[in-house]
């Protein structure tokens, strides 16, 4: 009986701490986002992060999308040829890339690149008193550090995903025409026949949400890190793990919201 109560207490404690964390993150997000509409938004910082996220992530995201599109074409060919359904390849590639793989894979790559960098930079600032220094220098750290990163990631991710969509489809096209012997015009026609605005829009909405999550987890973990280099390391790991899991979970939720009717 006491065993059972211990177990209950354990579960209860975990639940309470999970709720508290969730509340903390939500308040943090609100505080950060509120500076988007308050005076004195740091545009210079925003520009720096926007370039860092949007421009310097291009190679990683582009390569990921290209190879994913290629693999997708190849894999669906080996599968579909058993049912004489090769003609569906173009539609499979374009729908999976725009709806799912573009945003999710770009999100995961950016989480590893940017989420980690944000947590490490802000975490280092925390443990070296730089965040306290900001406060004494008439600057709200939420405004200076968090708000521009949230906005930059939210705006840059959809742009990255547009590129990922194009390159993913191109990867499929490449394999389809060069290796599998489709006629280019027919492949492209099939691609654009099935593609609807909603497919692209849902992907871009996902991208914006994922971008916000990546920046939120990166800044939150960094902001709350403590205990020197080791603490910063832990914050970095936590930021990447948390944003990756959240991306996959919210991907499901958003898909459900868009396509379950």
């Amino acid at each position: 009986m006491t065993r059972f109560l211990d177990l209950l207490a354990l579960i209860g404690r975990a639940l309470i701490s999970a709720c508290r964390t969730l509340g903390d993150v939500a308040l943090f997000a609100l505080a950060g986002a509120s500076h988007l509409v308050r005076p004195g938004f740091p545009f210079r910082q925003f520009g720096r992060h926007f370039v860092e996220i949007g421009y310097f992530s291009l190679p990683v995201v582009a390569l990921t999308a290209l190879f994913t599109g290629m693999v997708l074409a190849l894999q669906s060919f080996t599968g579909f040829s058993r049912f004489n359904a090769e003609s569906a390849i173009a539609s499979v590639v374009v729908l999976s890339v725009t709806r799912e793989l573009g945003p999710v894979l770009a999100g995961l790559m950016v989480a590893g690149r940017i989420g980690a960098a944000m947590a490490a930079e802000i975490g280092t600032m925390r443990v070296t008193d730089q965040i306290d220094a900001l406060t004494t220098l008439s600057t709200d750290p939420m405004k200076y550090l968090v708000a521009p990163r949230l906005l930059a990631a939210t705006l840059a991710m959809p742009l990255l995903v547009v590129v990922a969509d194009i390159l993913g489809v191109f990867g499929g096209f490449l394999i389809g025409t060069v290796k599998l012997g489709f006629v280019p015009q027919i492949y492209l026609a099939r691609t654009f026949d099935v593609l609807q605005t909603m497919d692209v829009v849902s992907g871009l909405v996902k991208a914006a949400v994922f971008g916000f999550l990546i920046a939120l987890m990166g800044t939150w973990c960094g902001y709350n890190s403590k205990g020197g280099a080791q603490g910063v390391g832990q914050a970095t790991t936590r930021a990447v793990v948390a944003s990756s899991i959240l991306i996959l979970a919210l991907d499901y939720v958003i898909t459900e919201a868009f396509f379950s009717r």
Partner: protein, 257 residues
């Protein structure tokens, strides 16, 4: 100089976990004067400053600035006080993503009191005061030696001409001559700008040079206050032992738990 109190601490307490760091600190800092705090390593000097600045929330106790209770102030009032405050952090805490000149003029830029072009010139001017060439302004903090970083941090703390300045070990890590120069600079800030200074130091010569008043903190309490020029000959066995750096005396080295 009036006898008005700039900072008044009463019964300030702070613990981290079950380690009591501040155990009822009472301290008065008079306006336009320079107060020096002495105390062993880990005795809570930096924590005291961070409490006054509102960077650490004390568990108990009263903090008054200009006669007003900090705990009862609105956000805006606190921000207004920080606008007139300068702080030199013990480890410098320079922003390593910004060049030195932007670090130095960060507050002026944040308050929009200066344009970016003017900030460069202003930075050169302040850097010169702390004995650094204007060309240092274009370097990043990571490219500087420890002592140079300290001086840049000092420049940043005084650039906006605050009227309360906190110095957490301003001369630690500097050579003796540079230490004396910095001490002179601190004295100038107090005398010329009429600022109130609150410094932590382990260097007795420096404490006598920059301090009007001195206080010693031990085991989370202020155990002595008096004029800084009396240090070393105060009649208080603890302070004298500390000032002379003697091994034997009322203060025994304790193993930190």
């Amino acid at each position: 100089m009036s006898d008005a109190l700039k900072i008044r601490l009463r019964g300030l307490k702070k613990r981290f976990g079950d380690k009591v760091v501040l155990d009822g600190v009472d301290l008065d800092v008079r306006a336009g004067r320079s107060m020096v705090i002495l105390g062993g390593s880990g005795s809570g000097k930096s924590v005291t400053i961070k409490c006054i600045l509102g960077l650490i929330r004390p568990d108990e106790g009263l903090i008054e600035i200009d006669g007003r209770d900090v705990a009862k102030m609105s956000r805006e009032e606190r921000a207004a006080i920080l606008d007139r405050t300068g702080m030199l952090f013990q480890n410098g805490a320079l922003f390593d993503s910004l060049p030195v000149w932007e670090n130095v003029c960060f507050k002026l830029l944040a308050q929009r009191r200066i344009t970016r072009a003017a900030a460069r010139e202003k930075a050169a001017e302040v850097l010169e005061q702390v004995g650094l060439a204007a060309s240092v302004g274009d370097l990043s903090p990571a490219e500087l030696s420890g002592g140079m970083q300290k001086r840049v941090a000092l420049a940043r703390a005084i650039a906006a001409q605050p009227d309360i300045i906190f110095f957490d070990e301003p001369t630690t890590g500097l050579d003796p001559i540079m230490g004396a120069v910095i001490d002179g600079l601190i004295v100038d800030c107090v005398k010329k700008l009429g600022a109130t200074a609150f410094s932590i130091t382990h260097d007795m010569a420096s404490a006598r040079r920059i301090g009007d008043d001195a206080a010693m903190i031990h085991k989370g309490r202020i155990v002595w206050t008096g004029p800084a020029n009396a240090l070393g000959d105060t009649g208080n066995a603890m302070v004298d032992q500390f000032a002379r750096g003697e091994r034997e005396g009322p203060i025994q080295m304790e193993l930190r738990k």
